[in-house]
Symmetry: C2
Subunit: 626 residues, 2 copies
């Protein structure tokens, strides 16, 4: 009896719980699903670093300075890579930062890591979409007024694709990912080959106007700041370790292969781009000012000219930018799931939906990203510095956790592994310190509020669940002492078919039945007193059942709800041991739009539930078909 409706069309047919294996992926889909964030950062990492150098008035020498900065970033990447290879092997069920830190360093460390990652993922989802749409909008200015709408459309698209399941997402994202890697690869190979064969450096690209003011030496502090900005390229590297269970068997091997592929491609792209930037003397231009051109665009144009291939490459870059939000969609729900398993989030987040994905996490991410996009009108550039902090903080917690893990382990070769993770921890914590210090006044202070707020929230949810568990805990045989029959109260305006049905029903469940009328000058209220004997008392009496009592409440202020609640209060006070069932007859058959025609029934139910107190139960009986 499975309905085939819009849900199935949009999200695909439901998948059985034991069909998990079919949904699992290999490296071919793993790179697009888990690597888009990391790969896309190749297109904005170098740009971010160059912009810092440019702002400092470094001008032409900035192009040369990109080399040491890139080498530092690539070095950090490689250290982190080896670190995470070990984490994947040690935690084949998903070694997200939360799990590793929680198990090895304690709950607080785990929650900090989780909060950092959650922040990173939410920011990534919003900023990636906004960056992609921003690029499209700057290409087609007519779309400018629709920036926010486009952002939200991409967000909805990503949400739907991810709700369809992880495999669907992999298939959809394969084409743009490999187009991105392929085209950019061709550009880098061509550019480097030409430089090698010609022997002499190629002619410098005519420097855009904004960077004409050259000169100035580049100090160590500036290099550090450029490095901090370039560290945005690091985000997304943790995704694979968190998503290990997504891979089919041999799980650890395939996950490691995927991580290797992602980092290798990223290193090649970063290195190649840095070399070409240096060779062509390319500098960043100021976004938002006339003549702005992204660094990737300048490199591609310098190597292949502004032909069809240029546009194909740039289209792939844009697509990957916008879709790199997908890493958040793949991983954020898994972070939530792990938190839910430890009761730091409602159990809803640990429930797999009809397509075996964690529906609540996906929807929560979509809502939070939508909120950010709406709050910033679809332009989230200034959130970019915040990214790296979340990622680096999570990295550090995770590596520190691994160090503790190896210390307690008795595995062979654990010392070497400890050293690798310790190097990772040291490298990422230094990078974190650099980013924090250099970016603190540029918005990084916000994370100083957001991450603790998340930690506080997680703890509050856990406390609530713990208290709930303690209060509701029960064991042993159920207590059946003192079972008293309930009292039924029916608020009734008329004794029509609906009222009679309710009265019949009440007679089947209780002996004490009150029919209550609030006389408040309503057009549709009959005074039941004159008809009560003939229509109710006599027939019920003939049956031998207990006769329902009619209660009429005058309401000189024409108030209905207040008077009824007052009377119920007196009733429960008089019968403190008995439950009172308020039976609300529905007028017509239930429809979702029923609220419009009979909102009084809904309001009565809501008021009784909220204000009725611990003795009042509310029962809704179905109405007549009309």
């Amino acid at each position: 009896m499975r309905r085939v409706g819009w849900r199935t069309l949009l999200f695909g047919r439901p998948l059985r719980s034991d069909a998990e294996a079919e949904e699992q992926i290999g490296p071919a889909q793993g790179v697009p699903v888990l690597g888009l964030d990391a790969l896309a950062s190749a297109s904005y990492g170098p740009e971010a670093a160059l912009t810092v150098l440019l702002l400092a008035g470094a001008g032409a020498s900035a192009a040369a300075a990109i080399v040491p900065v890139s080498v530092a970033i690539i070095g950090l990447l490689v250290i982190v890579y080896f670190s995470y290879r070990q984490t994947i092997a040690a935690y084949p069920n998903g070694g997200g930062s939360f799990t590793v830190a929680n198990e090895n360093l304690g709950a607080t460390a785990g929650l900090i890591a989780a909060a950092a990652l959650a922040t990173d993922y939410i920011l990534n989802a919003a900023v990636a979409i906004s960056a992609g749409v921003g690029a499209i909008v700057s290409a087609v200015p007519a779309l400018l007024p629709h920036t926010l709408a486009l952002c939200l459309a991409v967000l909805v698209l990503l949400t739907v694709i991810n709700l369809r399941g992880i495999r669907s997402a992999g298939l959809v994202f394969m084409a743009p990912t490999y187009a991105f890697v392929g085209t950019l690869g061709v550009v880098l190979v061509l550019g480097l080959a030409r430089a090698l064969t010609s022997g002499t450096p190629p002619a410098s690209v005519p420097a855009p106007a904004a960077s004409a003011a050259a000169g100035g030496t580049i100090g160590f502090w500036l290099l550090l700041r450029a490095f901090a900005s370039g560290c945005t390229a690091m985000t997304g590297v943790e995704a694979v370790s968190n998503g290990v269970p997504l891979f089919r068997r041999p799980t650890v091997h395939l996950a490691r292969t995927t991580l290797t592929l992602i980092v290798a491609i990223l290193v090649l792209l970063l290195g190649g781009l840095a070399t070409l930037v240096c060779l062509h003397g390319i500098t960043a231009t100021q976004p938002g000012e006339p003549g702005y051109q992204s660094v990737v665009s300048q490199v591609v144009a310098a190597v292949v000219g502004r032909g069809a291939f240029y546009y194909a490459t740039m289209a792939a870059v844009l697509a990957v930018l916008a879709l790199s939000a997908n890493t958040s969609f793949a991983d954020f729900p898994r972070v939530c799931r792990v938190l839910a398993a430890e009761r730091y989030l409602p159990p809803e987040f640990a429930r797999r939906g009809s397509r075996l994905v964690f529906t609540s996490g996906i929807i929560a991410l979509a809502l939070l990203a939508a909120l950010l996009l709406i709050a910033f009108g679809g332009v989230t550039d200034h959130l970019i510095p915040l990214f790296a902090i979340g990622a680096l903080l999570a990295f550090t917690m995770s590596q520190l956790g691994m160090v503790a893990h190896w210390r307690r382990s008795d595995e062979r070769g654990r010392l070497a592994k400890l050293v690798v993770n310790a190097c990772g921890a040291a490298a990422t914590s230094v990078a974190l310190a650099v980013v924090l210090v250099s970016k603190f006044t540029h918005g990084a202070w916000i994370t100083a509020f957001v991450i603790p707020a998340f930690v506080f929230g997680f703890r509050a949810v856990r406390r609530y669940h713990d208290r709930l568990g303690a209060v509701t805990h029960a064991a042993g045989p159920i207590d059946l002492s003192n079972l008293t029959p309930p009292v039924v109260v029916i608020p009734l305006r008329r004794l029509d078919q609906v009222g009679q049905k309710a009265l019949r029903f009440a007679l089947t469940i209780a002996r004490d039945v009150y029919v209550v009328q609030v006389l408040a000058e309503e057009l549709d209220t009959d005074d039941l007193r004159p008809q009560w004997r003939e229509r109710v008392e006599e027939p019920v009496g003939r049956l031998g059942a207990a006769v329902p009592r009619l209660v009429q409440i005058r309401s000189p202020y024409r108030e209905f709800f207040g008077r009824l609640l007052e009377w119920l209060g007196r009733l429960t006070a008089a019968e403190p041991d008995r439950q009172v069932i308020v039976l609300i007859p529905e007028l017509v058959q239930r429809r979702w739009y029923q609220f419009l025609v009979s909102h009084r029934a809904w309001r009565l139910r809501a008021q009784l539930l909220l204000e009725g107190g611990p003795q009042i139960s509310v029962m809704s009986t179905p109405g007549t078909r009309i």
Copy 2:
């Protein structure tokens, strides 16, 4: 046990139903409450007429042409006045256009009149507020970006004042109304006295730039169009006849006195303004163009100069403009109330709130006006032509109804009365035809959709109520055959305190109790099978009661609601004569924000109510305090 909270502070203490008399008013409050719309139109009626003349290129001769146009409008007003005097006497319980047309011409005529009036009132509320705010904003341009917010603030203010009761409204509006009449009266008397004493026409006001292009003769068609525009001055005259029950005894006398006062003041203002416009050769300027100045402003400035008195007068004009929306608030709810009494609207509209006003009507008007204001961003100028159509259509239906009334009456002097109302009907129908034809392409066509849509809606509500009445009608003793005890179903995840409480409750109301578990990989579901015998079956068996049955449903697709509904469907099919009560235990004590933490209970209730079918009742039991 009456709560004194924000409600009482905002709306005043509740009034007893028998306190109606204290809330009734006399002419002193009647003029502000029911006459603001009519009086305020003195400030825009002449302007509307002059603008038409100006647009036609009539220039300076426009000032002279205002005299015949004003005479025609005043003539129409006087005819309508005598007509409505008779209506008030004939319908002392409120002779709104609906009542008169409905009783004498049939339901369709009544509904057309009601729809026309409703349209008129909604438009009036929106346009009056927007006109008042527009004037304030053009005086203080810094407020321009907040136009809509200001409009909505005035709307909220009017809504609150009217929810406080009709007497409060009268008291609040007395000051601005009498300031308006007083200051404008002084201006007119001064202006006319000066003209009479000097003997020669006063120096023409230097014509504003926009009207410099004079010349052109004024044809009959143009005069007709100017008349049609000026007819906006007619709106609001029907208000008194509709609101007769608002007056204290002697009701008819006081209502007639109020109508006389309103029409007399309106005639004097219109006549005086027309004379001064003619004497000073004032013409309209184009709104929205530089140098725009309203006609009233020009007249006042010409007579008293731009001193303190000018500003006092203009402030009174602005206040009355904005507050003239109040006539809608006083009368629209009464139109709704009469319609509700005839079941053309839900009974809610006939219910008096805590301050003896028809709360639902006031809120409906506020919402519809807010919708209009938001849709047009607070600038509703182009809706002005639509006004007069609703008012004139309602006038015509009402007068025609009175003609039919007198034909059937055997009252003395009915022939004379018939002639008066027939004249009224003829005059207003001619005016209606003129407005319709001359304004059709300027937006009047919209009313050709809106008024029939209202009529259709009223009829649909009536049909729904009639069908509901027929289906649910019942008479005689209630049918008690075939009373079968219900089945109780408890969806349960754990047998904790909450679950035990639900089970205990179920045992008090039925012998057949099912505890249903949907096993859908939820973190918080315990498998009850192993504990069932010891914790439930044995204790209940010892008590001698019927033992509850445990049902476990596997859900390979992890779906909860669908599987439960499926199982309930099979249960109701197997027991077609029995009611099934689904008992939903609430986890925690009810709070309005409970939805956030336990929305599954709410969703389950909603799904069962909407999709459960005619045998399923839903019961919510209160939860544990936490």
